[in-house]
């Protein structure tokens, strides 16, 4: 029957959930600042957003250190193997109760599509948000940094673009957690660390 594999270590789970909480809170405050709605109001939203952003920076310092020292960063190296099979599974197989084409192990805990998706987040969406957000925070220092012609509009637009992409990712990501062998299997794994595999 089902075999249990310990895939998510304690720090990783802590990192994942605190990051998830921070990102969702950042989203909430972000669209308040953007003027989409007024839950906290602009002033508080800006303050909370800034605090949450700095908290995330702190969390990332630890996470990067952890990934580098444990070698877990290799989990994000993309692969072309079984990408098509994964796509076919999500598009067709999943509805026919076909077997999952990927069997996860401790060394390969993300399926090939996941790897690609996370890589896009890591290499494109995050840097877009991070760099634009950083510039946003240090608006007063642009001239001193040798960026006198930088326009707030570009920075803000880039930041907003990143936010939309992150929101779309978040929706798909949360949905796909239900695509395990039971709808809550992946969530459980991210809480306990143990994933059941067939």
């Amino acid at each position: 029957m089902a075999e249990r594999i310990y895939v998510f270590k304690r720090f990783e789970r802590f990192w994942h959930w605190s990051q998830a909480g921070l990102i969702m809170f950042l989203m909430l405050t972000a669209f308040d600042i953007h003027g989409t709605y007024a839950i906290f109001g602009f002033e508080k939203a800006v303050n909370y957003h800034t605090i949450a952003a700095w908290s995330l920076v702190g969390l990332w310092v630890f996470a990067i250190f952890w990934h580098l020292t444990t070698g877990e960063w290799r989990q994000y190296i993309p692969t072309t193997e079984k990408v098509v099979a994964m796509a076919q599974y999500y598009l067709f197989g999943i509805f026919r109760n076909a077997p999952h084409p990927f069997r996860l192990t401790q060394l390969r805990k993300h399926n090939p599509l996941q790897r690609l998706a996370y890589l896009v987040v890591l290499l494109f969406i995050s840097p877009l948000i991070w760099i634009s957000g950083w510039l946003y925070l240090f608006y007063a220092d642009w001239a001193a940094w040798g960026l006198p012609n930088l326009q707030l509009e570009w920075v803000a637009t880039a930041h907003t673009l990143g936010a939309f992409m992150m929101l779309a990712f978040l929706i798909a990501h949360v949905y796909l957690t239900t695509a395990g062998h039971t709808p809550l299997a992946h969530i459980k794994a991210m809480i306990t660390g143990w994933e059941e595999v067939d």
């Binding site: 003027g35 109001g41 007063a140 707030l152 939309f164 239900t178």
Partner: protein, 534 residues
Amino acid sequence: MRVGNLLATVLANAMAAIFLAAAIPAVAEPAAAKLLKSTADHSKFKVLNQDFSSGPEVTKACLSCHTEAAKQIHQTQHWKWEFINPQTKQVLGKKHIVNNFCTSVASNEAACNSCHIGYGWRDDKYDFTVEENVDCLACHDHTGKYKKPSGFAGLPVTKDTEFPPGSGKIVRGINLKEIAQKVGPTTRATCGACHFNGGGGDGVKHGDLDSSLEAPGKNLDVHMDVKGLNFSCATCHKTDGHQVSGSRYSPTARDKAPAHLRGEAKKTNPATCQSCHGQAPHKLARLNDHTRKLACQTCHIPTFARGGQPTKMWWDWSTAGKRGADGKMQVLKDEDGYDTYMTIKGDFKWAEKVKPEYVWFNGTVKYTLRGDKIEKGEKPTAINQFEGSPTDGKSMIWPIKMFRGKQQYDPEHKTLVVTHLAGNDDTAFWKNLNWEKAVATGMARANAPFSGKVDFIETYSMWPINHMVAPKEKALGCLDCHSVGGRLAGIQGIYLPARDNNKLVDTVGWAVVFLTLLGVFGHGVLRIVTRRKH
């Protein structure tokens, strides 16, 4: 010599007093000993102990000690009513400009010049080199009794006088001796006697200057608060040899200099906020970020005319001239007692607690002067235009009072006109309500061509808002600007978070988010449906 002796005696007495105070233990110190702020008690000067029959006599007495004062005054804008703008080279000052209140001084000197710091400026032949015509008392009176009634060309009245002659109205004479003996530094009241009443009455012109600032509370002006800092005008408008700093003809729109250190020789304007507060006055760095684009006044003066005194916002001269049913000149007032119509002046609108308008301003103000061509069209004519743009690197966002109205102009020569309003003669508008005659006299006095025709043109003038600085708790909040339809709704050239967004990014962004939701929802439904089949 006598004055010298007197001074010596006063000094000797003062020294003796200091000596005694130091020698005698504190217990023996008289409880009511008040520290005098001035080293001179003007009532002890013999030269001031005389009955003065005119202003110039007082000035002569003043100059007997303050020998260079008149020469200093002669170099001031307050004296010359003339200012040559160093940037535009325009010749400005009350002597030259046409505004959209009472329009111009020329040909109305006897009335207007009760606010000139001189005596006897009655017409264009005034001699600006006469020292005893400098009016010391206008600025240095401490009794509050000094008055220069309209119609007397800036002269105080020392004997009860019927004015206008034959009217039966008596202007009371004032005692210059008493006033001269109590002179002192300028106060909010002395400056305010003219500056609070610009435009012909309390609060009319500026909006941020009116009689409520004579003794303001903290909420009205955090610096002039009588129970707090109690600044006088000159605390900020620091004078040097009678030259008063700060100019609305050539304002300092953007002061990037550090705060002035006491004693440091500085060429920058000491009346700016930054001259005391420096470049990073807020504890929050994010607020300091705002100083790149915003004048301090923009946030810290949330509204003007907040002291209980409204300011005039609209003046329509074109409706002037209508007499009442009784055939007499009329004055209509609103429920608060403010004029809304005067036969001699036309229609007015007043407002209190006014939200300023906001403009990019780089310090250059361009005036439409007497000879400049103007065009009657959809857009009103600028009496003065604050220049600036988001990209010139010199502009800041400034709060202003926009004063709008309609005024007389020459439709053939297409120029603003000088109008003879006040006077006891046949052509004065306020006497005979005849525009053509009044303008003809005014233009003749200004040596300017006049077609003989008078029409009305809509104009506006811009006034910088600098005073009535609120305590920090009452400054604007983020949402006042960071919102759709906020205070800065009309300001272009900046990206204002919460007001602005990139329409394309927002549309595509929400579309992607919506499609993702739709996708996962459809996928999920399909999974549930297909699961049941199996």
